[in-house]
């Protein structure tokens, strides 16, 4: 197992080190080739792992002891099982495609920028692999923070871009926002880790899961809830932050300030799904604690519907996709929350394909439109960029749940689970599915169909080079066929593969009803979207109504946070911490100690005569005192 491990991690590490340390001196083609090559090697490693894992149980692989203090011991150890190798495969595969795509998309950067970009990208994938392959929560947290760091670095990749007029967000601001909001979630995750250590005395997955029963039967920790409930709840707080759920989703739309491949990779396909992975990984705990149906799934379904409304009203190409991502992540949480872990992971995978593809087409469009992301200035692009258009259509159909495309299987598995357990969740999910189809085809209709709204941009638009379109095509094929080929239908290959890890639960009987409802709503959404928005002028688009005003303003969530949290903290910091604590107490202590040292020094300075004999006399005096004391003792 050591060889695939090395193949998984070492090329990325080498890429990080070489590009990171020498990048500015390397030619651009080399930096790009190095980044992609390292990624490809890692993908190869993941491909090798899959048959090994499916061939038989592969135990944990302990590399070395990371830290040990008393009874606390954490190993750097990897866990190879069905779940982690599926995740590794998705991550490395999609990442590989996006790496290649980025070589075209980022070709306008200089040597420094390009090598920096690939350094971060490789480091991100490395961290992501640590996250999904670690066999304990500590190592998972390392990966968790690593991807958070890379996310921060990549969102702020164009840190020197000025604030655009009239735009509240710009890269460095968005990066900070993402980082800080994630901290809130990480705080919960950390407390959960501490709780697990005090409860189980270890952080290793297997050890915790096999002892989980003990904690479940233990005494209540707080507010009448057992400790396991708190652990799972706090873990989910971490997942909320990382996977952009209500109430911590606000960073994700702003994160679109990063380069589009980054949005595709980190903020659609991989990092944001880490929370889903974590819940799926901890399925034993969630099943025991019962947190899933009571906390995870409701949060997920509300997020799914709520984000869909904002996606429906956004005029930013990537903004629509960002809210769509939030929404789809909500779906995944519904899946894992309701015990349909397989369905959640399946949607994670299909989402990685079609949402990655959507973002890549967005990148392609932005590339053609000189980085203008406002869909009100697009229109009729299908004539200029046929490949992009076709792949976009495939992705849109997949996400809308068009029958027998990949999204159809995964989304319906989730809705089935909801239908079996909770009617209100199912209906909300079904409506959200309809909204999904609606906003995707709204986007399609405005951007690709009809007439051009900005002739100058339209004339300059062109199809992207093959390095960009090739990944589009590959992903389009995957989006279309993944469901059928990988057996995402009930008891298919995919579920059987994951069955060992994910205790699939079956509630009630299988029924086709939810499928028909959601497909009907989806198809309706598609048709309505096309019909309403095709050929609309800019004015018509801008004209809002009472219903659309609130979601268009993003429900004033940012403003509410600003008023409720950010401003009070700012003001308190200003008036209490700065004007009082810092200025009087801390500065007082610092100045007083400095003054004391100065005063003592002023006295002792007289000793420092520079005359050697003074020093000798002092030495002698010391010796005399020592001898005297020694004599007294």
């Amino acid at each position: 197992m050591l060889a695939p491990t090395a193949l998984l991690f070492l090329p990325l590490l080498a890429g990080v080190l070489i590009n990171g340390l020498l990048g500015a001196k390397l030619p651009k083609w080399f930096s790009a080739a190095l980044g992609c090559g390292a990624m490809g090697a890692s993908f190869l490693g993941a491909l090798i792992v899959v048959p090994l894992v499916s061939g038989g149980a592969v135990g944990d692989q302990v590399l070395w002891t990371w830290m040990a203090a008393g009874s606390f011991s954490v190993d750097v150890a990897l866990k190879y099982d069905a779940l982690s190798c599926v995740m590794a495969l998705i991550i490395t595969g999609v990442s590989f495609l996006i790496h290649i795509y980025a070589a075209g998309y980022m070709s306008h950067e200089d040597e420094r920028g390009l090598s920096r970009f690939y350094t971060y990208l490789n480091l991100f994938v490395f961290s992501m692999l640590v996250l999904v392959l670690g066999n304990n929560y500590a190592l998972m947290f390392v990966g968790w923070e690593g991807v958070g760091l890379c996310s921060y670095l990549l969102i702020g990749f164009w840190y020197d871009r000025e604030r655009k007029t009239g735009d509240s967000t710009y890269p460095s601001q968005a990066a900070k926002k993402a980082f800080i909001v994630n901290r809130i979630g990480d705080f919960g995750f950390l407390i959960a880790i501490f709780l697990m250590f005090t409860t189980f005395g270890t952080l290793q997955f297997d050890a915790i899961f096999s002892n989980a029963q003990i904690a479940e039967g233990g005494p209540a920790l707080m507010w009448g809830k057992p400790v396991l409930w708190w652990i799972t709840a706090l873990l989910f707080v971490g997942a909320i932050g990382k996977s952009a759920q209500i109430p911590l989703y606000v960073w994700l739309p702003d994160a679109m300030q990063g380069p589009t491949p980054v949005s595709a990779l980190i903020h659609a396909a991989t990092m944001v799904t880490a929370g889903v992975y974590m819940v799926a990984r901890s399925n034993v705990l969630y099943t025991l604690a019962g947190t899933g149906p009571s906390l995870v799934a409701p949060v997920g379904i509300i997020t799914a519907a709520f984000a869909a409304t904002m996606a429906l009203t956004s005029f930013d190409f990537k903004g629509v996709l960002a809210y769509s991502t939030v929404s789809q992540l909500g779906y995944m949480f519904v899946g894992v929350g309701l015990g349909a872990y397989g369905a959640g992971v399946a949607h994670l995978m299909t989402h990685a394909f079609f949402k990655g593809l959507l973002f890549l087409t967005a990148g392609s469009v932005l590339h053609a439109m000189r980085d203008v992301g406002d869909i009100r200035r697009m229109g009729g692009l299908s004539r200029k960029m046929p490949i992009t258009f076709v792949t976009f259509v495939v992705a849109a159909l997949a996400i809308a749940g068009f029958p027998f495309l990949s999204g159809f299987f995964s989304k319906d598995a989730i809705l089935l689970a909801a239908y079996q357990q909770s009617q209100w969740m199912f209906w909300l999910g079904a409506i959200a599915a309809g909204l999904t189809a609606l906003y995707m085809f709204r986007l399609l209709a405005i951007a690709f169909l009809g007439q051009s709204r900005d002739q100058k941009l339209f004339d300059a638009a062109h199809e992207s080079p093959w390095v960009m379109t090739l990944p589009l095509i590959v992903l389009a094929v995957l989006s279309a066929t993944a469901g059928a080929v990988l057996g995402l239908h009930e008891d298919g290959l995919f579920y059987r593969f994951l069955a060992d890890v994910l205790n699939a639960e079956h509630h009630g009987t299988t029924t086709m009803t939810p499928m028909f409802i959601s497909v009907a709503l989806g198809l309706a959404g598609m048709v309505v979207g096309i019909l309403i928005y095709r050929g609309k002028s800019v004015d018509q688009l801008n004209r809002g109504n009472a219903i659309s005003a609130l979601p268009r303003a993003k429900w004033y969530v940012d403003e509410a946070y600003d008023a409720a949290i950010v401003r009070p903290i700012h003001e308190a910091s200003r008036w209490v911490l700065w004007r009082f604590v810092d200025k009087w107490i801390i500065d007082g202590i610092v100045n007083a100690s400095a003054g004391a040292v100065y005063a003592v020094g002023g006295v002792l300075r007289n000793v420092q005569t520079g005359v050697v004999q003074t020093y000798a006399a002092l030495i002698l005096a010391g010796a005399v005192v020592l001898l005297f004391v020694k004599g007294l003792l």
């Binding site: 004999q613 000798a616 006399a617």
Partner: protein
């Protein structure tokens, strides 16, 4: 009063004389001489204890002290010469650059 005690007392007194000289004298060369006095006092104590214990190790130490004293004097005197060249003085009170 045994011979042993006499030697030790002489050693202690010599050492004290050396200490006082180092503290009091201004002439750098004389200060060095006083250091030699102190070393001699130590040597005397070494030899005395060596005799008392009936081993020669103390005398060996005397050789080492002498060798180090020779090195120290050579270095010290050349420092004095250098200082004198630069400041035309061998008064230790004039050499106060340690202050800065």
């Amino acid at each position: 009063m045994s011979d042993f005690a006499i030697c030790l007392a002489v050693s202690a007194a010599l050492f004290t004389l050396g200490v006082v000289g180092v503290l009091v004298k201004r002439n750098a060369i004389v200060v060095f001489m006083c250091i030699e006095l102190m070393l001699n006092a130590a040597n005397l104590a070494f030899v005395t204890f060596s005799r008392q214990h009936g081993t020669v190790d103390g005398q060996i130490f005397v050789f080492f002290v002498m060798a180090i004293a020779a090195a120290e004097v050579a270095i010290g005197l050349s420092i004095i010469v250098t200082v004198f060249r630069n400041r035309a003085s061998i008064n230790v009170d004039d050499v106060t650059m340690l202050r800065r």
